[in-house]
Symmetry: C2
Subunit: 267 residues, 2 copies
DNA sequence: CAGTGGTCTAGACCACCAA
DNA sequence: TGGTGGTCTAGACCACTGC
């Protein structure tokens, strides 16, 4: 068989952790055994997706969750350990476990890998160049998992460091979850864009993939970044995902790398 | 105080886990408490550095290590969990825990992030252009943690994919650990360079940092990669480290990104 | 079958935080 | 002081591998 479901002494009365795994329902073919803590992780994840706890909130204590799911505290602990490793949640000894957010001081700009060649602090001056709604092209809709011609929001902005325009970003967002996004709201907001998305639209970016190339500056990019056309620039295409691997943003960044570099740590 | 050292029942006879932590020796100022499993991790790490177990080898079972260090199996487990998370060790259920190596089929080219734009397989044709010993420049010696004018080995190679030269790599290695490295040996070797370093010189690269920029092709690079001078190319400067954060390689890669891209996953 | 890693539990105690 | 996460232990049982 596939001895799953708590299987411990307590497995009787009312329940939240029922129908945990894949019992004998389906024929056979890969029993798909899933450890308890994985199932707990999935349940917690669902609560995160469902908005039971919002970014910055405390989630219930390990003990409470253990009672709720009818498993031992150690099992909950292992589930939360993985969520913490995935950066979905942050543990703080003595205080509790919190839903991760892009709004925190130190974890700010978690996805921005550009650094000054000298280790200096980078305070970005941000300027939204435009923000408008349009219909997704075939390519954009494919990358965002939309249907062709679905509404999207397009944002273009320039980031400058110490007066030098350094980053040009074009951002495409699915129109439905980002209904109401405007140039004014974007411009007046301080802080990371992803924190803004969390607070204003309830959309939390969880992970992202980037494809990096070297490209010569287009006429447009050259103008906006103040470099000659053809100047070598870093092109960074990012797809950012919310919970459940749902793509929620396409971002094409063009970086000047005269006095900055993209930093990556391999292990 | 700072109740450390096993502190469990068994803490008497012969020992390997003596003088574990920081007792009352030093005055005060940050007691520097370190959990047992961290200390165990450090001990295992020392054995890895010391070559007690070589890349590809099995290390002793959790139970054996628990006995050896006089802690519970769970504590050893947590230590090994972290080593596995750091990619220093690989767990294989039913078989044992193995020292990680660059020679494995699937983990091959762990540090190479270049991919074909279409997801195609990339079989590299490699060509060593030159290999010679020289004295480290001030910059090279600084980056490798050497003294100026220390001997280093310089290697230049070109990687081509489907006949198109795509990667030009300049590699600097500290002369002492890599004594005897020759163009012939490098050329005749198949497989990843880092696997070769492991088997021939006992040097295992554990992690690396990369700084990425966009640059116009130099005359030299243009010739070797078959692009016009000034053509935008990706410049990847990597410093690779062995155990203990000791730098062991400086590598400057120049990548064509016409039909390839550098892939990065953020989380 | 024995040996290895993997899961789960239960309980004790420690470190940190806030009230 | 009580609550939270963090560490450590001990023991049971499961899943995978190879003899």
């Amino acid at each position: 068989m596939n001895t799953n479901s708590p299987a411990n002494t307590a497995n009787e009365t009312h329940g939240t952790a029922e129908a945990m795994t894949t019992p004998g329902s389906l024929p056979s073919a890969t029993p798909a055994f899933s450890p308890l803590y994985q199932q707990i992780k999935t349940l917690i994840l669902k609560s995160l997706q469902g908005g039971e706890w919002k970014p910055g909130d405390v989630i219930p204590s390990e003990q409470d969750l253990a009672v709720r799911f009818k498993v031992s505290q150690g099992t909950v602990r292992k589930a939360i350990d993985e969520l913490a490793a995935d950066n979905l949640v942050v543990r703080r000894q003595g205080k509790g476990t919190f839903v991760a957010t892009h709004a925190e001081r130190h974890i700010q700009y978690r996805f921005l890998r550009l650094q000054a060649d000298n280790g200096e602090e980078m305070r970005a001056e941000r300027k939204i160049v435009e923000c408008r709604r349009l219909r997704a092209s075939a390519e954009i809709s494919r990358l965002l998992g939309l249907r062709s011609a679905d509404p999207v929001v397009f944002v273009r902005r320039v980031l400058a460091f110490q007066g030098t325009p350094t980053i040009l970003e074009d951002v495409w967002l699915p129109g439905t979850p980002f209904k109401g996004l405007s140039l004014e709201a974007l411009s007046s907001d301080q802080g990371p864009m992803y924190a803004f998305f969390e607070s204003e639209f309830g959309v939390r970016m969880v992970r992202a993939n980037e494809k990096i190339k070297a490209e010569g500056a287009s006429a447009e990019a050259a103008t906006l970044l103040g470099v000659p056309p053809g100047h070598p620039l870093l092109s960074v295409e990012r797809i950012a995902y919310t919970y459940n691997d749902v793509p929620m943003e396409l971002r094409r960044g063009i970086y000047r790398t005269d006095s900055h570099h993209y930093k990556n740590e391999l292990s």
